[in-house]
Symmetry: C2
Subunit: 234 residues, 2 copies
Amino acid sequence: MRMSEAFQYPQQGIRLTVDAVVFGYHSDRLQVLLIRRKYAPFEGQWALPGGFVAEPESLEQAVERELSEETGLKINYLEQLFSFGEPRRDPRFRVVSIAYMAIIRSDNMPLQASTDATDAQWFDTQELPPLAFDHAQILEKAISRLRSKLRYQPIGFDLLPEKFLFSDLERLYSTILNQPLDRRNFRKKMLSFGILEELSTKVSDGRGRPASLYRFDLERYQALQHENFYFEIP
Amino acid sequence: MRMSEAFQYPQQGIRLTVDAVVFGYHSDRLQVLLIRRKYAPFEGQWALPGGFVAEPESLEQAVERELSEETGLKINYLEQLFSFGEPRRDPRFRVVSIAYMAIIRSDNMPLQASTDATDAQWFDTQELPPLAFDHAQILEKAISRLRSKLRYQPIGFDLLPEKFLFSDLERLYSTILNQPLDRRNFRKKMLSFGILEELSTKVSDGRGRPASLYRFDLERYQALQHENFYFEIP
DNA sequence: ACAAAAGTGTTAATGATACACCCATGG
DNA sequence: CCATGGGTGTATCATTAACACTTTTGT
């Protein structure tokens, strides 16, 4: 085996793809972007956006290219999730897929009447259609990762517009974590980090007392990271 | 692109490997297993054990096979770490590597006078030689993962022999986390989980008061996981 | 009796949880 | 003046952190 490695450089016949679980947040719901497949296998079924990795591009570039080709969307946050490589996960031949988790700001979510793309649609994560391949498993892992990251990384802000209401942020947390939060405690904790800037503008949605807009202060956050600072929502 | 995907099934020329960061614990030090490369590139340099994935095997099987071929070691814990796919990480051609983190019980560490294997050696993680490819980066990521997992998963027991002294466990934590621990607080916390069984045997290393042996109670741990139980060392 | 490591409790500080009323606006 | 959502503080409880002496053995 070592010998063959050294001198033959075996060509494997294993294909490499990337798939992306793209999250958005709309109407107080966590949404995920799916693409309807045009071709077999799983023709007509919904699947995660993704595709084969091209020879000279990095994995991240591959994800960004595929997303841009299929949906025209601009990614706001991207991280590698997990690699899926069970031998029979694709019925055609061996495909190993490196899955990514991506986040798109809710003010960027509208889908472009897409170029090449078939159907691309946002789905509420609570009401998902059957998915092609092992994509349900990938999605499940992504949701679970998103949930835990929400608690110890300021990743929730990537799902909201740049300026947002505190109540939006709170609803986002309680929706995605699927648990009720105490408004006062949440506010106290979140403000204690000192990474939110309160803007002077107040907005009213028509009824109720007008609320302040906030903005996530990324620079401040990055500065704090070099000190003994831990973002954590209990 | 979609078209070509659907009908051509492009062969990519991207090779797929697995690499393993294998941790052991010996002489109160965290150790990692390295292999001296027999062939170019990086001939003679130290590298992580690993190799090409064979067509019909799962990724985990590939790791286990390579480790067994190269070192004869039996793995005690295995988890996928991260996938590395920068286009020029291998000077020969495009190789994407899926890295795993493995743990070997310290009573299993002796290396078999190896079959095929060249040199395989344990290295103290504080005194590492230069590594081939991007393996230093992989190793760094593995250590950081091990550190954080140590805090919230009972993974430290996988580094110790089946029966161990409480002081060993404590030293392991303070060594790997690289911080001093308070003996009383550590003990109190660790025992509070109820996942350690105190054995009746006491052992003495010649000087000082003899100490009890403990054993990690896996079944109890698994049972507790279904309840509201969180292992966490602060 | 001394050296060496094991074992053991209490207090103070900090952080988490629980909880209810007033405020500002639009209709 | 009513309905609606925004905004605020305090008291209790739980967890963590700090800290030092006694016990058991071998030499």
